[in-house]
Each structure stands twice: as C-alpha cells, then as structure tokens.
C-alpha cells in the first residue's frame, strides 16, 4: 500500500473511531442520566412511603389519646356511678354495669382497628408485634424472628405482609397451622409465611397479594407466592434494609 493510501485508511479508521466513541460517550451520558433519574424516583417513593407511615403512626396516636382515652374515662364514670348506686336499687346498678360492658366492647373493637392502622410496636420491634399478631389467630402460628431492629418502614411492611398472608390462609387455605420465619439476609429482610393448607392461592391483579406486592415495590422489595394445589402455600417477601 502506498503511504497516501495507508494514511487514507488510517484517517477513515480514525474518523470511525472518533465517531463511535462520541456515540459511546453520548450513550454513557444518557445512561447515567437515566440512572440518576431512577434513583431520584426511588428516593421519592421511599419518602412517600415514610410519610404515609408517619401519618398512620399519628393516626394511631390520635386514636389512643383521643377516642380511646375518652371512652376509657367513660367506663370509669360508669363504674363510679354503679358503685355509688344505692344497694337497694339493684336494677339501676345492673343497667349501669351493662352500659359499662358495652363501652368496654367498643374499646376492644377499637383496639383491633388501631392494630390495623399501625402495629403496636412501641419499642418492642417486629418479633414482638408478630407474636402479638400470632396470638390472635384462630390457628397455631409459630414466629421465628431476630431480635435486632430494622428501619421502621421495613418492619411495618414485613408486619403487614405477615398479616395479609395469614388473613388469606384463614380465608382460603383450610390449614391446620402456619409458620412465620423472618431472617436477615445480608442487606435484606426475608419474610416467609408457610401454611399446610390446600394451596392453589391466587395472586393476580386485584388480589390482596398484588396490593402487597405494589407496596413492597415502593421499598424495592419483592413478593413471591408458591402454592401448588394440595401442597400448602409459601409467601416470601424480600425487603432491602439499606
């Protein structure tokens, strides 16, 4: 090849090289721009989820300090009236005691409502909240969970995954028992709910499970359901803690 020809070829190659690296550079810039946007979106979702959580925590507190407190104080007034009622007036005393029991019933219902709004976690953590949940189920539920704490949004999400999974078990599975296993897997919390029921669980659009999945996605979490017919159901959620 002549020197000129070699130069011409070299130039072509050079130009092609420059052109493709510019394209490459453009792509890289686009990619990092998109990544930055995705990250911002994720952070925004997290903030929304945390704001929602705080709202519900506040609602729980308002319920406790407002309605529940006033009703509790009312039971005290009725108790006082009952006590002060003359022993001869047996009928009145009975009615006052009935009224008090009625209010106590309302308070019991309110406790259930409050638990649905935000788990009674206090300073206890996820294991304790799950234990309290398990105690209220009309079937045996064992809980295994670590003692350490995790970010509040993660703990609350894990709690509701278990609550929803158990509700489904009760509704459909005809199970004799359920087991809940919570473990820390590196940077994530893994929650597994197993029942020994009939399987065949539906987790399509509109189901409670799908709603849970969407909520978990806000936290970058995943939810899977294994439910072979006749062989029980396993619901597994993985929620990043970082």
């Amino acid at each position: 090849m002549t020197a000129d020809a070699r130069l011409a070829l070299h130039e072509d190659l050079l130009l092609t090289a420059v052109a493709s690296s510019s394209l490459g550079l453009l792509n890289t810039q686009m990619m990092s721009g998109l990544r930055a946007q995705a990250q911002e979106l994720r952070l925004a979702q997290l903030r929304i989820e945390e704001a929602r959580l705080e709202e519900r925590r506040q609602l729980g507190r308002d319920l406790h300090d407002g309605v529940q407190l006033r009703l509790a104080a009312l039971t005290l007034r009725l108790a006082e009236l009952s006590f002060r009622t003359h022993l001869d007036d047996h009928g009145l005393r009975v009615q006052l005691d009935d009224a008090r029991r009625e209010v106590q019933g309302v308070l019991a219902d309110l406790r259930d409502v409050a638990r649905g709004i935000h788990p009674v976690l206090g300073e206890e953590g996820l294991g304790a909240a799950l234990e309290a949940l398990a105690e209220r189920q009309p079937l045996p539920v064992t809980i295994r969970a670590p003692e350490e704490r995790h970010p509040p949004a993660v703990e609350v999400a894990a709690y509701y995954v278990v609550a929803e999974a158990l509700a489904n078990t009760l509704k459909h599975a005809q199970a004799h028992r359920a087991d809940v296993l919570v473990t820390r897997n590196g940077e994530s919390l893994r929650v597994e709910i197993t029942d020994d029921g009939v399987g065949g669980a539906c987790d399509g659009p509109g189901s409670g499970i799908q709603g849970l999945r969407d909520r978990l996605r806000m936290l970058d979490g995943t939810l899977t359901v294994q439910s072979p017919r006749g062989r029980g159901t396993i619901v597994t959620a993985v929620i990043p803690c970082a």
Partner: protein
C-alpha cells in the same frame, strides 16, 4: 393503702383517682409522666404505684420509670396499666421489674371498684397479677396444634393452667374454682406432668414457666 398515680391522659387520671378513693386508697400525686412520678415517690413514698405504660419519657416510659422506682424503693408495689394487653410488654415488665408485687392490666378491666381493689390487694401481698384477657388468648384451644400436649389437657386442667398464668396462687385458684387447695395441687401437678415441665412450687417461677411455654415465639436459630 397509699397509692401514687401517674398517667399522661388527664381525663383518665382524674377518673381513676376518684375510683381509687372509692376503693379505699389514699391517692398521692397525680403525676403526668415518669419524671414527675419519680419526684412524687421520692417526696411522698406510697405503698403502690399505678402507672400508664405508654406515658413519657419516650413512648413507653412507664416501664423504665418503674425500674428506677424499684431502685428507690424495692418493696414498692407496681400496677402497670395500658390500653393494650400484649405479651411482649408483659415480658419486658418481667425482665425490668421482676415478678414480685407486679401487675399488668387493661385499663378497661380496672374500671370497677371491686376489681381495682382486688388487684391492688394482690399486688400488695407480693403477687404477680396478669390481665386475664391476655392469658385467655394464650391458652385459647384453637391456637394449639392438636399434637401438642397442651391440647390434651382436660377442661379443668386447662382452667387451672389459665389461672396459674394469671398469677394466682394455689389458694387463689382454689377459691376461684370452689375446690380444695389439695385438689388444686393435684391438678397443677397433672398439668406440669402432661406439659413435660419441671414442677415449680415457687409462685413466680411457676408463672414465668407457664408463660414461656404458652408463647408462640420460638427462639431464633442463628443465621
């Protein structure tokens, strides 16, 4: 009996103070949070303290406050009240304040002069008093796997177990069931044998053993 009262809900606090007086107590205070309660007890020592678990400092300040009160006055009776009757809170109370002269009851349950009085008397006598609703939940038959020994208790044995878990002594159980103490001792022995638990004669250790057995939590296997 001299009772110091602490709760951050004014309405409830006023009403309970009146009920305590009707139950024959002399009420000191009231205090609206843990720090006020500490000052109150230091200045004017009572026999028993009635306090809300969920008052300040912090979210559940009642529990650490009670531990500090016991340091000041080891013989002090403690009655913890809450809108919730939850096993995890009971466990933490037992860990921080022990099981002597301690009670944990739902606020609605003590809205009764007789019940309030009886609870305070039992605490004054050094007993552990646990909200029956909490215990009922723990012992509920539906919660128990059929193959577990718990499911094989007779109705009477189940009732005795429940009353043990509430903190009642053998004589207390005898009164409640209208049987002799000897009969109760027989049932208690039967229960412990069936559950495979070492027989505990000491009241407090017994309650703790029963509660431990009834809880749905298994210890975590290390990862």
């Amino acid at each position: 009996m001299r009772v110091a009262l602490a709760d951050d809900g004014g309405l409830w606090r006023e009403g309970l103070a009146r009920l305590l007086e009707l139950a024959g107590c002399e009420v000191t205070g009231p205090a609206a949070d843990g720090d006020e309660l500490l000052d109150l007890v230091r200045d004017d020592p009572p026999d028993t303290v009635v306090l809300d678990i969920h008052m300040p400092p912090g979210r559940d300040g009642g529990i650490p406050t009670a531990a500090r009160l016991r340091e000041l006055q080891p013989e002090l009776g403690l009655l913890f009240l809450s809108q919730h009757a939850e096993t995890p809170y009971l466990v933490r109370i037992l860990q921080q304040s022990g099981s002597r002269a301690v009670g944990y009851r739902l606020k609605d349950s003590v809205a009764d002069v007789r019940a309030l009085h009886d609870t305070l008397v039992r605490i004054r006598e050094g007993e552990l008093v646990i909200e029956p609703e909490l215990v009922r939940r723990l012992v509920a038959p539906a919660r128990v796997e059929p193959e577990r020994p718990l499911a094989k208790l007779t109705p009477t044995e189940r009732k005795v177990l429940e009353l043990m878990a509430e903190g009642l002594s053998n004589s207390g159980i005898a009164v409640r069931l209208a049987v002799t103490v000897k009969a109760v001792e027989g049932h208690v022995s039967g229960v412990f044998t069936k559950l495979g638990l070492p027989a505990e004669t000491d009241g407090h250790r017994r309650v703790l053993a029963v509660l431990q057995y009834l809880r749905s939590r298994r210890p975590v296997d290390s990862p």
